[in-house]
């Protein structure tokens, strides 16, 4: 099938014709092109192992192995193109879908994901991530805006103030992401803005991941006494990631202004009929 793409005056996002997954982003006016593969994966939650009886839970993120499983290798896609918006609707499984959206005049790509209820019929707790893989050479470095303060440099398997003995290859590299996470090779920068606090990391060079949902079957033994799962069939979540590709030089100006617009977004109130008349005073 032909390459699926959505485009406005600034951006073009292309999708793999066989898998339906996001595969490329181009910034047309700055002549930037970056292969970006985005997909959803899940970590299998540890219930304890030979090394430690610690289970993954509300306080403790501890996957049983380093590599996550793909939620699906394929996405069923549907394309919507209008003058105001172009969207690719991706359906990965019955419990994971996404709309990749490009509004007219917008310099960022919007990914609105819907995840849940996470199935646990196989008795495996699952922690779902959205992962972006690129060929950027990032040298183990990524950036997050932890604690709502300044953006901090994070380095894989490293702490700036002590010699780290890394015992948890995944969780030991996860950091809080309050509003943004980014990677750069010094020339190009890929930034993801979140609409809520999430955990995030860069587990390999050129890669970014954010945890979007989790459902666990065992308590982590930190005092709550309940596993992290909602009653019944489980909860589901919808959220948005805003993806910005820019030169490393221009990126900060873009993501700072966009984050303001996102975190102090306009509020809508409706009123019936023609509404109130306007009074100058």
């Amino acid at each position: 099938s032909p390459v699926l793409s959505i485009k406005n005056e600034y951006l073009r996002a292309s999708f793999h014709p066989d898998t339906g997954l996001l595969s490329m982003i181009e910034v047309l006016d700055r002549k930037l092109t970056l292969p970006v593969n985005q997909a959803f994966f899940w970590y299998n939650a540890s219930v304890g192992d030979k090394r430690s009886s610690q289970a993954s839970g509300a306080y403790i993120f501890r996957p049983s192995q380093q590599w996550p499983f793909p939620v699906s290798h394929l996405a069923r896609t549907r394309l919507v193109k209008t003058a105001l918006v172009q969207e690719v609707h991706q359906n990965f499984t019955a419990w994971c879908s996404q709309v990749v959206r490009l509004y007219s005049g917008q310099r960022h790509l919007e990914l609105e994901w819907t995840v849940g209820p996470i199935p646990v019929g196989d008795k495996w707790g699952k922690e779902i991530i959205s992962r972006f893989d690129t060929p950027l050479e990032t040298g183990g470095v990524f950036f997050t805006d932890s604690n709502g303060r300044e953006v901090l440099e994070r380095r894989r398997d490293y702490r700036p103030s002590w010699k780290l003995n890394q015992t948890e290859p995944v969780a030991g590299n996860y950091y809080p992401v309050n509003s943004r996470i980014y990677i750069t090779d010094g020339k190009m920068q890929l930034t993801v803005l979140t609409d809520r606090s999430q955990g995030g990391s860069s587990m390999s060079d050129g890669s970014l991941e954010l945890m979007v949902h989790r459902r666990l079957l065992k308590d982590d033994g930190r005092g709550v006494g309940e596993a992290l799962q909602e009653p019944g069939s489980g909860g589901w979540v919808r959220g948005r990631h805003l993806l910005l590709l820019d030169t490393a030089r221009e990126a900060a100006a873009e993501h700072r202004l966009l984050a303001e617009k996102e975190l102090l977004a306009p509020q809508l109130v409706l009123a019936p009929g023609q509404g109130p008349s306007y009074h100058h005073d």
Partner: protein
């Protein structure tokens, strides 16, 4: 009677107990949700009172709490309504407004009584169509857009009936 203090107190309780991290028993998490919902009700009254005072006209203002999952019974059933867009930022912003609606053609007017381009996108996940139109909102202010469902009629034929409105 509008009041923001119940929401203030609920937020304080939630922040003190790290209520968003999943580190509480389910019945406690349910109670946090109850406190938030109870706090938001009087806030809506407070906001409605403020909007009524600013506009000089008492209206039934409606807040759609489920817009993020494309549900708003009011916009999905009304033929004609107003959309007030408030911008809390200190600079003007443009924003694409998305509202779940019934199928049909819509006429959107901006505060200057100009027709605004709009489109209706059908979503597969919810089955609800969504109306999209761009809104421009002044710094720390609001704009009012009027929405009229014109069905299959020519949108231009209805434009004469809309009254110009402006807020800032």
């Amino acid at each position: 009677h509008g009041d923001s203090s119940p929401l203030n107190q609920a937020m304080a309780v939630l922040q003190h107990h790290d209520a968003v991290s999943g580190t509480s028993k389910q019945h406690v998490a349910d109670d946090y949700a109850r406190q938030l919902a109870a706090g938001w009700g009087p806030c809506e009254v407070l906001l409605s009172n403020a909007l009524a005072k600013l506009s000089g006209s008492k209206e039934t203002f409606l807040f759609c709490r489920d817009l993020n999952i494309s549900i708003c019974p009011f916009s999905q059933t009304s033929e004609r309504f107003q959309v007030l867009v408030y911008n809390p930022l200190g600079r003007k912003v443009d924003r694409m407004v998305r509202l779940p609606v019934r199928k049909g053609l819509f006429l959107i007017k901006d505060p200057g009584n100009n027709t605004v381009p709009s489109t209706v996108v059908e979503l597969t996940s919810s089955g609800n169509p969504e109306l999209l139109f761009p809104a421009l909102v002044p710094a720390l202010g609001f704009s009012v857009y009027s929405v009229t469902r014109v069905s299959d009629q020519n949108p231009q034929t209805r434009s004469q009936h809309s009254r110009p409105q402006k807020y800032s």
